[in-house]
Subunit: 524 residues, 2 copies
């Protein structure tokens, strides 16, 4: 894979990794999966748990997710997209079974609760009590269309009960075999929106609107240059009529579906009997949508932005914008004076200062110097992806300055800034970092997207070489039966971008005439 | 029960219910459980789901819980009490079985996952796939001591790894038979803190400190006059050495344990092998604590503060402080002018205004007048417990005033306030309402607490009369075997208040000499 990563465009290589030096043991180039794990370990985002496929999410990981919740939640509120509810974790299996395709899609990997009591058996072992078997097994929700549909059925009677705009932030369970922290885990956290409308156009418009809301959030807040597109039939959500997706390219060239929005037609309405009496007195089925983003988005951000020194967090999503690190040698009394007077003075200069929608978040790393010196604190902040590090020592105190390092710049690049300018300097730098991460990721994706592959033969030859990674943007004839043509190479249709050229060409799966633009690639 | 509620002290009877009129069908006096349900229905806090014992929490319920999370979460951060983590929903049954008392306490009512796949059987029914049985059953967490203990075991090696201060906000499952919305449900939401310390005094101090943090939060933010006390041995958490509780009295005289904090000794550390090497080189077990508040607290607030007109929310916890209701008759053009110009002008006067730690939250009820007129909107806000209602119509616009009603005052009491004074008037009123709710609840509890019952005979005679509700504060000898003396009357020791008199007396369970002050009563 090294030659492929060698194609990384210059703009993306801003970190010391470019010169062969890096803090992490693994590099993206040499061992991408190992690097990903090490970024997560070094940043203390999450760790494995004793439960197969489940993580323990550590404070930084929880805080990043809380930022997603707070900021996307605010978008939902402001946009009057939905209200927050909490539906049960358990779904009775009969309810779950209502929608045939849905069952087929999820029954294979669901956690089933069958008993309501444990007991100690003859050998002293804890076992489910056979006398405490549930009448009906309960499914731990893998998604909530069916249980929310059941509420819709009760709530919706006439046209004036529509639209219903529901959202919940919750945990879901999918008993998958192969897992990877954040990207695919047995338990994950998400937001799931579920809406019901009177007509198909309203339903379709809602699915698109929410996909666009994700696009805005991911590009502007997460600095992810996602491609908004439609899923081909073979890649659609189980039970959906139309699925929108936000596809992001990771630094190993693979795609991550970072969010989805589905128009479900009246499939779930028919299954759940969600009917209303229309103005004309007729009973009609509602048209429903569902849309979600999950902790997988954190995986996308890690694999998109991080470098061989560890995590890089876009400032708008970073829980802490600025870490202050006391530094420099000197007498104990001088150090105390700096901590008691100069540092608080610097901190006070940020009071009420904002970057985008949030107050600037500052953290003083006041861990005992004997346990962790200033240099080590710097490495720690670097690995945690904190956008800005401020060092303050006797020299700075004397000169009324601070020394600033930025996570988007070379390790050796430090700037001394007079404290009179500090707030405006930091706000400006945060904006630059945010944009730099986005631009680097976009340039990287463009450099790894081929648009000059025009035939099935060229397509096979390209992906047959494992050094060739990334996306191919080419034509597809739209025939569902052709989707798995390159399944042997793990290459599939990632999406049909909404941004279509309208040109004619040749389907690179079949060689037939084709007009649809499609993104092909490997995926997580 | 009517005669008992007749003892309600005058101060608590500020609502129109006092004069026999009320909006709800049920009254506290006539049908307390029915009234509780109706308050929840009328406020749209939650409703039953298809899953036995599980609620659907509706937007107002979610928002109230979000206030608890935001405000108590902020207390935890400011107090450096803990960091937020997320641990797995599932606990392997072998891990769960480690602590004997704990198992005994929770195994009886836990949800057990035994399969990872469903299938359709011969008769077309969805059943757990017998070929997809888990090697080890998984327990859906009823509480997380064991799974967090497993992480502690890995994290803690030497004394410098202590203390570890962990918290998580999550859902938990207890398969209880009898449920009641918010107070006792199969699934509920909570915050569970888990801390590990090097020594017993640190552990005990932490359990007390967190109980005191709850006391502060409940009295100041939730307006609940809770009694902070210790649980007697029979009422302790399964596996705890010492349990602190926050006991609140509901308007039917029963106690609700609204929060708890446990010192677990080294019981869980021994079970989970949480050991550290001390300064003296010796291997020692850590001392752990756990502490939690849950959505049950919402149940406490409803049953403490609400009246026969519906919910009353303490302003500090109310998601919306002020609802603005367009009112009055007039030409369509005038109404439009009021909505487009005067109401926005009033709203702008609240910009940046704060009540306690939050910005004043205003909501305009702009639902179509034809569907819901101003009067009905007023009833709706009343039933939802919104602290302040502001009516604005042509009269107000012309006189540059608004008409204000308060949830703590009589329905007929309305005040016209010039808009120049509106923000200060509202901030002052919110403070008064907050204090009024607390004072009323405290006065009610004091009126329903007997301190003159001095013998077992008097005790039995008192509680044998079903008209006698509330608490008895009296002496207890401290003998664990006596705790269930009045179990036939459902009367138990609610707590041993920290505020002890130190006087000598006679145990009202046994007649023996006793010094401990205890609170006796019925409970949820």
């Amino acid at each position: 894979m090294s030659s492929a990563i060698g194609k990384m465009p210059a703009v993306a290589v801003s970190s010391p990794a470019a010169s062969g030096q890096h803090i992490l043991k693994n590099s993206r180039r040499e061992n991408f999966p190992g690097w990903y794990r090490e970024v997560i370990d070094a940043a203390k985002l999450a760790e494995d748990s004793i439960v197969p496929g489940c993580m323990v999410i550590l404070p930084l990981g929880v805080e990043v997710w809380n930022q997603v919740k707070a900021q996307f939640g605010e978008m939902l509120r402001r946009g009057k997209c939905s209200h927050d509810y909490q539906f049960p974790l358990f779904i009775p299996s009969s309810l779950f079974a209502q929608e045939a395709e849905h069952v087929a899609g999820f029954a294979k990997e669901c956690a089933v609760v069958t008993h309501h009591r444990m007991m100690v058996d003859g050998s002293g072992k804890m076992v489910p009590d056979p006398t405490a078997k549930l009448d009906e097994p309960l499914i731990v929700r893998p998604t909530s269309e069916t249980i929310i549909g059941e509420s819709f059925r009760g709530w919706i009677r006439s046209k004036k009960d529509l639209p219903r705009l529901v959202n919940q932030w919750c945990n879901v369970i999918r008993m998958e075999r192969a897992t990877r922290p954040f990207l695919r885990t047995t338990e994950f956290f998400w937001q799931e929106g579920h809406c019901a409308f009177a007509t198909e156009p309203e339903g379709r418009a809602n699915a698109l609107k929410m996909a666009q809301a994700y696009e805005t959030f991911m590009t502007q807040v997460c600095a992810l240059p996602v491609i908004l597109g439609e899923k081909s039939p073979g890649e659609r959500f189980a039970g959906a009529v139309q699925t929108f997706t936000l596809e992001a390219m990771m630094q190993d060239g693979k795609a991550v579906q970072s969010g989805t929005s589905h128009y479900l037609g009246d499939n779930f309405a028919r299954a759940s009997h969600i009917q209303f009496t229309d103005g004309d007195g007729e009973k009609k089925y509602a048209h429903t949508t569902s849309w979600g983003i999950s902790t997988r988005l954190i995986g996308s951000m890690i694999m998109t932005h991080s470098d061989d020194n560890g995590l890089r967090l876009p400032p708008r999503i970073a829980p802490v914008h600025v870490v202050i690190i006391p530094s420099g040698s000197g007498a104990k009394a001088d150090k105390k004076a700096i901590r008691d007077a100069y540092i608080p003075r610097v901190e006070a200069l940020f009071a009420g200062q904002r970057f985008e929608d949030r107050e600037i978040s500052i953290e003083l790393d006041d861990r005992d110097e004997k346990e962790l010196n200033a240099g080590e604190k710097g490495w720690d902040a670097l690995k945690k992806g904190t956008p800005i590090r401020i060092e303050i020592g006797p020299r700075e105190a004397q000169r009324e300055t601070v020394t600033i390092s930025r996570r988007d710049k070379d390790l050796s690049e430090k700037v001394e800034v007079p404290i009179t300018d500090i707030a405006s300097y930091v706000i400006f730098a945060l904006g630059e970092i945010q944009q730099t991460y986005f631009r680097q990721a976009l340039a990287y994706r463009e450099a790894l997207t081929r648009t000059d592959i025009l035939t099935p033969e060229a397509m096979r030859a390209y992906f047959a070489d494992p050094a060739n990674i990334g996306f191919v943007r080419g034509k597809w004839c739209g025939d569902k039966s052709t989707e798995e043509t390159f399944k042997d190479l793990s290459v599939t249709i990632r999406c049909l971008p909404l941004d279509q050229s309208g040109t004619n060409g040749i389907c690179i799966l079949t060689g037939r005439p084709a007009t649809i633009d499609a993104i092909f690639g490997r995926s997580y």
